[in-house]
């Protein structure tokens, strides 16, 4: 049971990541935010470990396991995002508020 937990811990999943936005230069608010990131290896079996199941990924992993070299192996990435509001400078030192999609990673998957 302990070993299985350890394996799950080390599988593709959402981890905390705080991104500093002030250093971007043109962003005023928020100064930073919890963007999070998807981290961890992608390997078989997919279905029992991850809610997002892609047939394409499954077949890529099988090819890989059968010894065929893949130009790009499956990768742990965000499959669901949420949006956020950002206050930035405009080009002429004015202020602008805008809602940006795909700001925060909410769920991960192997693709």
């Amino acid at each position: 049971a302990n070993r299985s937990t350890q394996q799950q811990e080390n599988y593709c999943r959402l981890r905390e990541l705080r991104i500093d936005l002030v250093s971007m230069g043109y962003i005023i608010f928020p100064e930073w935010y919890h963007a999070n990131n998807c981290v961890g290896p992608c390997r078989s079996p997919l279905s029992t470990r991850i809610p997002d199941y892609y047939s394409h990924t499954l077949f890529l992993l099988r090819m890989h396991e059968q010894g065929f070299p893949l130009q790009r192996a499956p990768c742990c990435v965000p499959v669901k995002y949420s949006q956020s509001v950002i206050l930035t400078f405009t080009n002429d030192q004015g202020l602008k508020v805008k809602r940006y999609p795909d700001m925060v990673a909410e769920a991960c998957g192997c693709r």
């Binding site: 002030v22 608010f29 928020p30 935010y33 919890h34 999070n36 949420s82 206050l87 030192q93 202020l95």
Partner: protein, 118 residues
């Protein structure tokens, strides 16, 4: 968690100016529009915010009000202090206490205050 009757609103100093050229709709109800000065009420988990220009040592308010505090971008400070250590033209803060965004504390002001008190 349900917000009970005990949960007080947050009061923030509000100031709206023509500096906000785009996206006013996202701050509707969170700032007073058209150069009005006053106080706005927002949910108690929101932050107050303020943006000033620093012109020849004088602070000129650009925008004040409540900030849309989403779970992924909260504010921690109870007082309004500038995050930037650089000598910038624009100063800003977000803070989480009633009316905390009336004025901003910044390096040159702090230096001047400490000189005065010594």
């Amino acid at each position: 968690m349900r917000v009970g009757f005990q949960a007080k609103n947050r009061s923030c100093v509000s100031y709206g100016s023509s500096a906000l050229t785009e996206g006013m709709e996202h701050l509707r109800g969170l700032i007073l529009e058209d150069g009005q000065n006053g106080t706005v009420q927002c949910p108690h988990n929101q932050c107050c915010f303020g943006i000033w220009n620093l012109i020849e040592g004088q602070l000129r308010a650009q925008l004040k009000g409540c900030w849309i505090s989403e779970k992924e971008a909260t504010c921690d400070s109870p007082t309004c202090e500038t995050q930037s250590s650089e000598d910038t033209f624009t100063l800003s803060c977000r803070c989480r206490a009633d009316l905390c965004n009336d004025n901003i504390t910044h390096e040159r002001k702090r230096q001047a205050d400490s000189l005065r008190s010594s």
